[in-house]
Structures are given as structure tokens and as C-alpha cells.
Amino acid sequence: MTVRLVVRSLSELCITAGALVVLFVAYLLYWTGVQAADAGAAQIDTLQREWAGTPVAAAPAPARVPAPYVTGKGFAVMYVPRLGRDWEWPVLEGTGPDVLKRGLGHYARTAPLGATGNFAVAGHRRTHGDPFKDFPRLRPGDAIVLTDGTTWFTYRIDRGPYRTVPGDTAVVDPVPRKSGFDGPGRYLTLTTCDPEWGSSHRLIVWAHLDATRPVTDGRPQALGS
């Protein structure tokens, strides 16, 4: 009788553990994606509503004082045509886990968007909407387009994807040493993890600011419309 009880309890425990693992995988693969897509779309909506409410003609990019970004708040939208025609994600301030589950995260200690220095952004490769799933397909010359509501910034990739180790913080320096840039400029760095489901390495691309245009002039050519 006791043997029976032990065997039955053990079986129930195994079934419970199995169900738990399956549920967790479903959570990672599916549910975090649903939540990230919702949060990302809501964030872009909020930004566009904010931008629609403020006068655009105020001042073009160079004269503008960089607004202090608020941690966890979105301030720009990124478009990467190579990753898909409708690939668009909000960029939020900070790179904490609670920020990155809602979009791309701007390294707080790096330059603001469009300014001299290095505008560095991190994003998930897998889970939470898989924003950077196709990161290895990025090539030199590809456009990375951002808007902050007043200006379109078109960056062009110079180097990458470059594989490095997680401790290599020099990749987000104002002039990243291994990028091939030889002086101060308006740069952009994207970081994500590598391999796809691991965390042993990081993938990096570097880009420089190629063109800016006021939003009143319409979408940049790199976006194809």
C-alpha cells in the first residue's frame, strides 16, 4: 500500500514538473512576444500622439537642446528596413530588464539621438517579441532610421555584425575602438546577444549618421516611401 502511494506521488510530481516546463516554454516563446508587441505598439502610439500635439516647426536638429531622457520612457521609434518592411520598435531610456521587455533600450550613459558621440541601443534577440532575431543579416550600407518626432535620422551601418564578449564595454564608447571610426562623430551602436538563445557573446553593429531631415519633409528615402 505504501509502495503504491510513493509511486503515485512520484508520478504526479513528474507530470506536474513536465507541465510546468511546457508552460514556461509557452510563456517564453509566445506570451512574452504578445506582451512585447502590445507594449511596443502602445508605446509608439503614445509617442505619435505626443508628437502630434507639439508644434513640429520649432527648431531643426542641430539647434535643439538634447532633451533629458527619463528612464523607462520612450523617446524615439526605430525602423530597420533590412529586418522587415514593418519592423518598428520604440526606443526607451535605460537597459534594465523591465525596459527591454517593452522595446529597445538606450544605454543611459551614451550620447542622445543624433548628437556627437555614440547613441547605443540594446535589444532582445529572442523572447519579448524577438526584435533583433535577424541581427546577423545586417550588412554595411544598411539603413537604420530613427525619429524623435521632429527629425528623421538615417544612420548607415559601417561595420558588423561584430562578435564580442559581454564584458567588452568599449563597443559603446564615444569612438568605439574596433569600429574603424577614427575620430569623434555621430555614431550609433546596436547590441544584442549571441548565440540566439545564449548569452556567452554579444553581436554589435556600428553605424554613422548619414542624413537628417525634418519630419515635415516626409519619410526618408531609406524607408521606401
Binding site: E12, T32, L100, Y107, A122, R126, T127, S199
Partner: protein, 53 residues
Amino acid sequence: MYGWIWRHLPGNAWVRALISIVLVLAVVYVLFQYVFPWAEPLLPFNDVTVDGQ
């Protein structure tokens, strides 16, 4: 364990089945809402930055 729960639920088989479904849904909700978000950072999928955050 499950047998014990089943025996302690009130009502006939249909009522018990209904309560069981509600219990299962409640457990799934707690897992998705609280337990999994807590457990996720312990796994390596979230490390996408270079400064160890």
C-alpha cells in the same frame, strides 16, 4: 495529491470538474503573472547589453 484534492472538493462530479478547471486556470494565471517573470532573468535569454546589467 490530485486524488486528495479531488476527494476534498465539494459537490458531485460535474461541480468538482468545474472547480478543478477554475483551480487550474488560477494556477496558470499566477505562474504567468508572477512566477515566470520572476524566473526569467535567471535564464540566459535576457543578457543583451555589454555592461552586465
